[in-house]
């Protein structure tokens, strides 16, 4: 029981103090899981980061389920996950209520009008990460275009499979009302076939 409460409390702190999501939470998780409680060794933590990249969901939740299950089985992953989302549930629910009630106020409306374009820019930054890891994957489907790295791009070798399926996916998404999940699955299957043949 003690370990369950410890997991809950540790991940509650991670959930409460990790702003901005994603990899911003990584140092906090490491501090709780590796340094403070020694639930994992450093190399196991590195494995966890790799697994997080290979599985869906935010890294803090992935860490909660993974560490929780390893320390205390299924109850462990439940307690850790619940701790991780508990602060957000309360705080964001309160914000959701405030938003619904007061978003017509001129000050709030103005603030949101200033924020919305910034959010578009922030979402676009996520594309940079995806572009650099998929277009410049260095897989067997790459062709060398000298000079790309010198203009600030991540490398000289462009992954043709990635560029091709990106273009097709974007065309389909713009043209048809199709589930984005199907589009992503499609590009995944293309990748599975192509990269299995030409190599990663």
């Amino acid at each position: 029981m003690k370990i369950l409460l410890q997991l809950f409390w540790s991940f509650l702190q991670i959930g409460l103090f990790s702003f901005g999501g994603g990899y911003a939470a990584l140092p906090l998780i490491q501090e709780q899981v590796v340094t403070l409680h020694q639930w994992m060794a450093v190399d196991e933590f590195a494995d966890l980061v790799t697994i997080s990249q290979m599985t869906p969901g935010p890294i803090a939740l992935n860490a909660a389920s993974f560490v929780g299950a390893r320390m205390a089985g299924i109850p462990g992953s439940l307690f850790a996950t619940f701790g991780c989302i508990a602060p957000a549930c309360l705080i964001v629910l309160a914000l959701a209520w405030v938003y619904k009630k007061y978003r017509k106020l001129r000050v709030i409306e103005g603030a949101l009008r200033g924020l919305r374009p910034a959010v578009v820019g922030l979402i676009a930054t996520a594309a940079i990460t995806m572009f650099s890891s998929s277009f410049f994957s260095g897989s067997g489907a790459s062709v060398l275009i000298p000079g790309l790295a010198s203009i600030g791009l991540p490398g000289d070798a462009v992954d043709l499979c990635a560029v091709g399926s990106f273009a097709v996916c974007l065309f389909i998404l713009r043209k048809y009302k199709i589930s984005p999940i199907l589009v992503m699955l499609g590009s995944g299957i293309v990748g599975l076939i192509v990269y299995s043949i030409v190599g990663l």
Partner: protein, 204 residues
Amino acid sequence: MSKESGPQPSAGKSAGLSFYMRILWETFKISAFTFGGGYVIVSLMRKQFVEKLGWIDDKQMLDYTAISQSAPGSIAVNASILVGYGIAGVPGAAAAVVGTVLPPLVLLTLISYIYKWFIGITAVRCLLLGMQAGVAAVICDAVITLAQTVWKQSRWAALIIALGAFAAVGLLSVNVMLVIAVCLLYGVLVYGRKPSAKDQEVHG
């Protein structure tokens, strides 16, 4: 935009159990395919809840993203709470959170027992690398549509803010919260006071 004009749950009359299950199922599907961070799930949610189902609009989605980014916790969970609440109040938020949390909870619990083996599977790596191209397309699709939305609202000011935020965070690694604070302040000062700021901005 609301083509299908789903159940109108704000009155509470049609928001039955099956509707909450529908919300849970939608967020479950989205969460199960969210590779690569918070803004990916926002792009997926926009496609599904704004474009396909018409339960919320683009402006709400942008507001939810800004609030998710500013609150503690992961963007995925925060955004699902906001979307769920916006569609069907507190029970809607609960359904959306459960749907969002379940896929990583189940998957990572299972994988924790076999992770050495899982990391080594080449086919998984091939599939994931292939999916990244699709994810990039989903993000670009969202950015194109959302850019049109904010362009209609604030024209050149919107373009400058969007490009500025993109360059500051994506290229210069400026802290996201700082960017949000600056844009929020700008919004309050420029649009927050005057009764009809809308017409004045069009000149740029």
